[in-house]
Assembly symmetry: C2
Homo-oligomer: 252 residues x 2
């Protein structure tokens, strides 16, 4: 809990620089007045708190959501209370693109820590994309990017062992934080070990063991949710270290 205050201090600073949506995720190729129009349809909500829902699986799809500060997890709940974590979303990232097809949400989204979220009514966004070709193109790119990201995850889950998965996860966090102007080497995890394991297809115990192993190997220092990366190229070499032909387990 105390950690959340720390990450909030960080993120609030950044929030000032990211006041409008365009800056967050649809930045390129728009003239100022189009940015204005885009900004005009964005709803800003009061801050949400840990555990609050953006939407629940099965609900009618109305809006996309953009994280301004804080973090959000998406997951698909299965009967019996079990759940599959689908992603963690940091500032500047968009949520809800998977709901467009069926016009209803197929996953749930909950806030992991106190967060500021923008809401973009999709119907109004579509009106704009019709008029603004460059905005339409950005939307296509955005959707395409999501597909590319899922592809990466697919590769991670299909071909990488536990060590590689956690290293890739940490590097992904690090890079995404850096992109938002936060420290890529020193950050707090807003999700539990259980959620990390669930996301990476690993048991909690495996995640825990790997954190301690990484620390023992001097790759990082970890204290509960506080992570400090000491040897980022070491982590990168774990991920880059591609087995030649073999499949899942380490083959060289």
């Amino acid at each position: 809990m105390t950690q959340h205050k720390v990450i909030s201090f960080e993120t609030i600073r950044v929030a000032c620089r990211n006041c409008n949506l365009a800056t967050l995720c649809l930045p390129m190729g728009l003239c100022p007045e189009d940015v204005e129009r885009l900004d005009g349809i964005v709803k800003r909500s009061r801050p949400l708190h840990r555990g609050d829902y953006l939407f629940r699986s099965g609900e009618r799809f109305r809006s996309l959501y953009v994280v301004k500060t804080g973090s959000v997890k998406t997951y698909s709940p299965s009967e019996e209370g079990g759940e599959q974590v689908l992603g963690f979303h940091l500032p500047g990232e968009i949520i809800g693109l998977d709901a467009i097809e069926k016009d209803c949400h197929i996953c749930s989204a909950r806030v992991l820590e106190t967060s500021a979220i923008c809401e973009i009514p999709f119907a109004r966004l579509e009106e704009l994309t019709c008029c603004i070709p460059s905005l339409q193109h950005q939307m296509f790119r955005l959707l395409s990017k999501e597909i590319g990201h899922d592809t990466d995850m697919l590769l991670l889950l299909g071909k990488r062992n536990a060590e590689e998965r956690l290293a890739a996860f940490l590097l992904s966090l690090s890079r995404r934080l850096q992109k938002r102007g936060l420290s890529p080497y020193d950050f707090y995890l807003s999700m539990s070990r259980h959620e990390i394991g669930n996301y990476l297809g690993l048991a909690v115990e495996t995640v825990s063991r790997l954190f301690t192993r990484f620390q023992d190997e001097g790759l990082l220092h970890v204290d509960r949710k506080h992570v400090m990366i000491r040897d980022i190229s070491g982590l990168e070499s774990i991920v880059g270290h591609q087995p030649l032909e073999g499949n899942q387990q380490r083959s060289s």
Copy 2:
């Protein structure tokens, strides 16, 4: 090889019913003249043969591709000749959506058997989507659908054991063939065991063992690439059989 002839007979019959693109993947909400315009930008190429490339990783992105008959695999080649199979694409399915973001292909696509493929120049498609709001909406849905599909795969690779993965794979093929008017119970695999294993994150040997086990259990009959599903609900119960809370390995 003899099998390929058989699947060709089947697919050629269907080809006649799927002459234009709109029927294949952008069917809804278009008036006849818009369908006409859409159809106007589609290039039809001569049949491609096993091993032919639709595009290679790294190439400039120009067009989307739609499978009319036959099948295509997409994969991301890694150095050293290893590859990760990303998907198998059957008639009516679209390829290349992941390339929009970076404006260059991040995976390669090769034809698995003699196939007919439509090419849709993306720049021209975007001109149309600007003018035709319902077409734009269909494009958004199409991209969103791809994300949803990737999500399913993510769940498969992250939480399912080998048995569940192969069962899900076979059911997916079965349903997609049925959607195109082909038999959901009797079909030929156009991909090798190696490619199936690669796709599902399993070793070839595991795939082979599972095929024989499924056959022993009366779920299906398999002779090389020829698959006959005997107990589809049996396969469904393997997939539906969700572990309550546990992660990867079978937990009940």
